[in-house]
């Protein structure tokens, strides 16, 4: 081992900070250097050493480059928390930026750009201006990137001070690395701006393509990525570009290769000559294949991209299917992607080989992979008509192995094959029926039942087979129930004999009166009405010819595919999602018309009103996650007042709105107003309202922050004290800077069991919120237990009774709610169910109604609940049993809230 830095981690616990302080102020250089190293070590392990700020900054003026770098590193980390003290460092920065040593000049400018403190930013301008014109290319390349940093902090400043022009000049620099960094910086600035800043003309294009040859590998990536946005004027220009880019395919760096592929694919769209296209395809194939001998992680990226490429240009790898055969030791994520590509490349020519492979995979160990392999065989059958029979015989062979999950998966795909080739392969149904008893997965069961119903007239004992499922009808999952219903109706229509007639009675009864599933009930009623009014019409409807399916699974829309191909090598191409669907920072709005500005404010104001009035108990729609919302919004009054809003304000609002839209997070509920936890009177004008909520199985802290003070507030952070359930935030609080009068509402995802407090359960949740301008605010919130009720808390009657009996009476806790009147039972049950407190049964005892419910909180702690009420009279008696009776008070608190709501 070369270094011995680990010694810096082992400092004495006692009085560490004062000790370090003393050492930092030592008169000996070496001691000071060691002390700074200790500080950095402490910072690395997460200790807060920000209190040493002044002492560390005092060490900044040194000739020792290593020490200087460490101090700079410290500054980057802590300047934000000590903005006033950070100004102390400015002088040294400015001085360093004029040091004779280019390394120090570059270091100063690089570091200053990383310190995101407004006051410092102003001082950055002059040194940056100088460094952009420095004699030394190393300084210039650093300064180029620094412009992008500055633009991120203060775009206006960059534009005002003419940095963009200086940056554009650097594109013509004689040093390739400077050019590359300037291109990267400009491309990034362009991405975050609505104005055309960095437009690639054919002149710049040609200049940059020439620079490619001399750039470092990363510089080549920057340039290729920037150029891939260029639209060639015609096929000839496109061909010229491609010709100059193709040599990059031979680069050892996978990022260069993928960026080159991206660029070539973009230009190929314009090229009309089939010969040229064919030739290019031939050239691209080997480098793509070579990527598969890189590290598995890089292989994964390559495979996800190849998946896209073969969707657009299937010929590229048509002859290379063998390279996608899985190696036994490939990581699972590589195997899964290879399988997907094998399906896409499967053709009549290679299907025999492919099937042999799939069959081999279907006997491997990893269950997910095996299932996917079986499904792959089915998808090949659907894709290749001539190979369907061979695929089916492989599936039958696999069924004979009698591995449970293989059989079930095979049956699922055979159902699809029947849909694709109706009336062709029924001869195999007998074989399938042999495995009937082993089916225990809903999808497999439903598939088998569908097959029986569809071919009821060809299966002699179809009625017996279906009947065997009917006994357990009430317990089956909805998917199976629906299929059973339809299959029985088909059977009855095809064989209207006595047996099926009785069955249909049972099924219809089960599916209407005895069920609480609206889908099932509706479908059953429709069938029932059809059958009773006009059986012939029923036949026309139920037995109608179905459209033939095709294998379109995992195929992308052409327009989406276009977008993804333009993003080759990026996250977008790995997720197979367009960038805007997962990137939080969206480009600032392009159009700054009045239309864009006003509705934002007025709409939200408008939609808030009725929502507040609406019944708060109804769960918000689950699919609201795509609705973007304005996290930071000016109150309507502010927006409307200055009617002819100057563009500047419009810009600001537009920018704010978009800059912080986390489009992948569920929109905050527009439900009831949140309880105020920190009133403005206590919070020096800062008002915080918040509540825990549960949405889509995840706990969120819904927070509304209103700035009623006179100063802008920013840098909001939140922390939760130890609590019974260890609730803590899953990520940072995403609140934009708030101007006076502005407010922001956000949903903070929460996680459990992070900092669990000892002691008896308590519903108290202590929260601390801070920002850069004010002291830390502390307030108390209450954890309502029903937020923790999990979606899987539903119990079957049997297990409910069993659990109830198995718990000793000491675990039973009683409580009366004398004031509560259950007027609308139905609505109450729905509301409880929406909060994951599931209704199990109802019983009449004299003139009392007794209801039973179950609920579950994380760690699988169940609650069994009995509610007794005299119908029409106020007063609810509650008895609960749970393995953790000490949670009972919390539970009753939640129950009361739920019943009152």
């Amino acid at each position: 081992m070369s270094g011995h830095d680990s010694k810096y981690f082992s400092t004495t616990k006692k009085g560490e900070i004062p000790e370090l302080k003393e050492e930092l102020n030592s008169q000996y250089k070496d001691k000071r250097k060691d002390a700074v190293k200790k500080v950095i070590a402490a910072m690395t392990v997460g200790k807060d050493v920000s209190s040493l700020f002044t002492d560390v900054v005092n060490c900044m003026q040194t000739e020792n480059l290593e020490l200087k770098k460490l101090v700079y590193l410290y500054l980057i980390n802590y300047a934000k928390s000590q903005p006033d003290l950070a100004i102390l460092a400015v002088n040294t920065f400015v001085k360093d930026s004029q040091d004779p040593n280019p390394l120090i000049r570059a270091l100063a400018v690089r570091t200053m750009g990383c310190i995101r403190v407004d006051k410092i930013t102003e001082y950055l301008c002059d040194p940056l201006q100088r460094c952009l014109k420095d004699d030394d290319p190393y300084v210039r390349k650093t300064a180029a990137i620094c412009v992008a940093k500055l633009y991120d902090i203060n775009a206006e400043l960059v534009e005002d001070r003419g940095f963009l022009e200086s940056l554009k000049d650097l594109i013509s620099d004689n040093n390739p690395m400077v050019v590359a960094n300037a291109v990267a910086a400009l491309a990034e600035i362009q991405e975050n701006s609505s104005r055309p800043i960095f437009e690639i003309t054919s002149h710049t294009l040609s200049k940059l393509l020439t620079a490619l040859n001399e750039c470092t590998e990363w510089g080549q990536v920057f340039i290729l990525d920037a150029l891939s946005r260029y639209k060639a004027a015609d096929a000839r220009e496109a061909e010229n570009i491609v010709e100059r880019v193709t040599p990059r395919l031979q680069h050892a760096n996978c990022a260069v290769v993928l960026s080159a592929v991206k660029m070539i694919l973009q230009q190929m769209e314009l090229i009309t000559s089939p010969d040229v296209v064919r030739n290019l395809c031939k050239k691209m194939a080997p480098p793509l294949v070579t990527l598969l001998s890189a590290e598995p992680e890089i292989q994964y990226v390559a495979l996800r991209n190849i998946n896209l490429i073969v969707q657009r240009r299937p010929t590229i790898l048509a002859h290379e299917i063998k390279v996608f055969f899985c190696k036994y030791n490939d990581p699972i994520y590589v195997k899964m992607e290879k399988l997907e590509i094998m399906i896409k490349l499967a053709s009549d020519r290679n299907i025999d080989q492919v099937l042999l492979e799939f069959k081999e995979y279907a006997t491997e160990v990893d269950v997910d992979f095996v299932r996917k392999a079986v499904r792959a065989i089915g998808r090949c059958a659907i894709k290749l008509e001539r190979a369907a029979e061979r695929c089916i015989s492989v599936l039958l062979e696999l069924i004979k192995i009698k591995v449970n999950y293989v059989v079930q998966e095979a049956i699922i795909v055979i159902k699809d094959i029947f849909r694709r080739y109706p009336n062709t392969y029924e001869s195999i149904i007998a074989t399938l029926c042999e495995s009937l008893d082993t089916l225990d997965e809903p999808e497999a069961k439903a598939s088998m039942i569908w097959i029986i119903g569809e071919y009821a007239e060809r299966i002699d004992n179809a009625d017996e087979l279906l009947e065997s499922f009917l006994e357990s009808f009430p317990e089956e999952p909805a998917q199976v129930q629906l299929q059973l219903l339809t299959a029985t109706v088909k059977l009855f229509l095809k064989k209207p004999t006595e047996g099926p007639q009785q069955m249909i009675q049972v099924v219809l009864n089960n599916a209407t009166v005895e069920t609480d599933n609206p889908d099932l009930r509706d479908r059953a009623y429709i069938y029932w009405r059809l059958l009773s009014t006009d059986p012939e019409a029923a036949k026309d409807v139920v037995l109608a010819e179905k459209p033939v399916i095709s294998d379109d699974s995992n195929l992308l829309e052409p327009s989406v595919l276009d977008e993804l191909l333009a993003n080759i090598a990026t996250l977008s191409s790995v997720y197979h999602k367009p960038p805007e669907s997962f990137v939080t920072r969206v480009k600032a709005t392009t159009q700054k018309t009045e239309d864009d500005d006003y509705p934002d404010g007025s709409e939200t104001g408008y939609s808030d009103a009725p929502a507040t009035a609406a019944d708060g108990g109804v769960s918000p729609p689950a699919s609201s996650s795509n609705v973007p919302y304005a996290a930071a919004r000016q109150p309507a009054a502010v927006l409307v007042a200055p009617a002819p809003v100057p563009d500047l304000l419009g810009d600001l609002i537009g920018l704010d709105n978009n800059a912080v839209v986390p489009s992948d997070e569920p929109a905050p509920p527009s439900g009831p107003p949140l309880p105020v936890l920190l009133p403005a009177s206590t919070g020096q004008g800062l008002q915080i309202s918040a509540q825990l909520t549960r949405r889509d199985g995840q706990i969120f802290y819904s927070i509304l922050i209103e700035n009623n003070s006179q100063i802008p507030l920013d840098g909001f952070m939140i922390q939760f004290n130890k609590n019974t359930f260890g609730l803590a935030s899953a990520g940072p609080l995403q609140v934009p800077p708030l101007q006076p009068g502005a407010s922001a509402r956000t949903l903070l995802p929460m996680v459990l069991f992070q900092n669990v407090s000892a002691g008896p359960p308590s519903s108290v949740l202590q929260v601390a919120v801070k920002n850069n301008q004010q002291p830390v605010w502390y307030f108390n919130d209450k954890i309502l237990l029903h937020v923790l009720f999990t979606e899987d808390g539903r119990m079957e009657r049997g297990s409910f009774l069993e659990t109830w009996r198995s718990l000793p009476d000491t675990n039973e806790v009683l409580k009366d709610f004398p004031g509560i009147l259950l007027s609308n039972i139905e609505a109450t049950l729905d509301r409880l169910a929406a909060s994951n407190m599931f209704f199990i049964a109802k019983r009449k005892n004299a003139n009392h109604d007794v209801f039973y419910f179950s609920a579950k909180i994380p760690l699988g702690i169940p609650f069994l609940i009995e509610l007794t009420t005299l119908s029409g009279n106020p007063g609810v008696k509650s008895a609960i049993k749970t393995p953790n009776p000490d949670m009972a008070p919390l539970f009753f608190e939640a129950l009361e809230t739920l019943l009152k709501a």
Binding site: A187, F325, Y333
Partner: protein, 438 residues
């Protein structure tokens, strides 16, 4: 955007942060907690190297006992990110003298901070060439395996070299004896069906170079590849010499190789970095000479016995020999007792991996040793499930043999001072994933 990272974390297997660096402001400092909670502590770990949690994406890989995690919130260039990690690890290794693990990070954290500051700026990778960085990032205790002279103070024109067109070689190198070592290392990948037909077979080779050359030499490498030879004879307008030629499916080059020139003239010309580097990689699928044939017969005799016979045939020249041959023959998990005979080497049963491991230290060409084993199985009460047989895997090294048939025809060195160079060439073929299904 070619941004590769907003933050980079190095974590140990427990999830403690060993070192981290935030490059951009768009991800919170506590996002690593999300990684710990949603990936490290779940069975998700290892199922997918790119994951999105909340608004952030995590791009991670494990190297020895360290997780390297890149966090981004924009649509970053993933290929760039992974390649950056791979190259950064290379760089650290070259600084620490070979090892990269938890201890090495703790012991060199000051140096790593310094390097992290230098090799990436605002999420954009910068120069990662060890040779150049060592000019001006020097720490006590840094042992460079090939630095010619200790550099006490930064070379004055370091910055010019970092950014120069030859960003991988410094100027003014002087060696008494000018030498070049070429190592052609091939790994042959095979997947053979139980019936002996080749399902997939390819060779990935790399040419490793060690240069101890003075000044700024220009090098040109000639191989016996078909296209290169054809082009050469075309240029010199004389018929190609007869002799074995091979067809390269694909080649990739170190950044020092002039790609445009390769594209037009098919010659590999370059100014090499000093010391050791990987000049090129190539891939071949046609006409591969397999060094070994494996002929297994596995019979299941009733429920509790198995008979395994494996014959391994070496098909390279009789004067050559393979080293470190290991053949792993999988057996059922229910194996109770094994007995076996081998005609060469040693075999034993390794219960941890459910394999018979047969090792032959020195394996001459044109021989065919065999292993025959009898295996008794524990009879299980439950109905016998068909045993899923993993493939037989093989490891080996064959010096002075190339599975592709590749040969170096010449290596020319030009330098303005006109010195003479000594060139050394070695060949070796190793097993990549050499699998035979049974």
């Amino acid at each position: 955007m070619p941004v590769a990272a907003s933050a980079i974390y190095f974590l140990n297997l427990r999830g403690d942060v060993l070192i981290n660096r935030l490059y951009r402001d768009d991800v919170g400092g506590n996002m690593v907690d999300a990684f710990r909670m949603h990936i490290m502590q779940t069975k998700e770990l290892g199922t997918c190297p790119v994951r999105q949690i909340g608004g952030c994406s995590f791009i991670y890989m494990r190297i020895s006992n360290v997780y390297i995690v890149i966090v981004v919130s924009s649509n970053a260039n993933v290929a760039c990110a992974f390649k950056f990690v791979v190259e950064a690890v290379q760089l650290f290794k070259s600084y620490f003298g070979g090892a990269f693990d938890e201890d090495a990070i703790r012991n060199n954290f000051v140096l790593i901070y310094e390097l992290l500051d230098e090799i990436m700026d605002f999420g954009y990778p910068q120069n990662l060439s060890p040779e150049i960085l060592k000019l001006y990032i020097t720490q006590e205790g840094v042992r460079s395996p090939f630095s010619s002279k200790p550099t006490d103070k930064p070379v004055p024109n370091a910055t010019l070299q970092v950014t120069g067109a030859v960003g991988w070689r410094r100027e003014g190198l002087v060696y008494k004896k000018n030498e070049v070592f070429l190592d052609i290392v091939e790994s042959v990948n095979l997947l053979m069906s139980s019936k002996g037909s080749v399902l997939r077979c390819d060779v990935t080779g790399k040419i490793l170079m060690k240069c101890f050359l003075s000044g700024m030499p220009d090098l040109k490498l000639g191989l016996n590849d078909k296209i290169g030879l054809e082009k050469e004879s075309q240029l010199k307008s004389r018929p190609a010499k007869s002799g074995k030629t091979i067809e390269l499916d694909d080649v990739t080059f170190h950044q020092c190789v002039n790609l445009t020139r390769f594209n037009s003239e098919k010659t590999v010309s370059f100014v090499p970095p000093d010391g050791e580097f990987e000049l090129m990689k190539y891939r071949i699928t046609e006409g591969v000479n397999l060094p070994f044939r494996v002929l297994p017969t596995i019979k299941e005799l009733g429920r509790t016995r198995m008979e395994v016979n494996v014959k391994v045939k070496s098909v390279f020249g009789a004067k050559m020999f393979a080293l470190g041959v290991v053949i792993k023959i999988p057996v059922s998990k229910q194996t109770a007792k094994t007995s076996f005979q081998v005609t060469s080497g040693r075999a034993k049963y390794n219960a941890a991996i459910d394999c018979l491991v047969w090792k032959i230290r020195k394996f001459p060409g044109q021989t065919e040793p065999t292993l025959s084993a009898e295996i008794e199985l524990i009879s299980t009460m439950t109905e016998k499930k068909s045993w899923t047989r993993p493939p037989i895997q093989m490891e080996f090294q064959v010096p002075m043999f190339t599975a592709s048939g590749l040969r170096v025809r010449f290596l020319k060195v030009w330098e303005k001072s006109g010195y003479n160079t000594v060139e050394w060439v070695r060949y070796i073929t190793k097993a990549g994933s050499y699998e035979v299904r049974c």
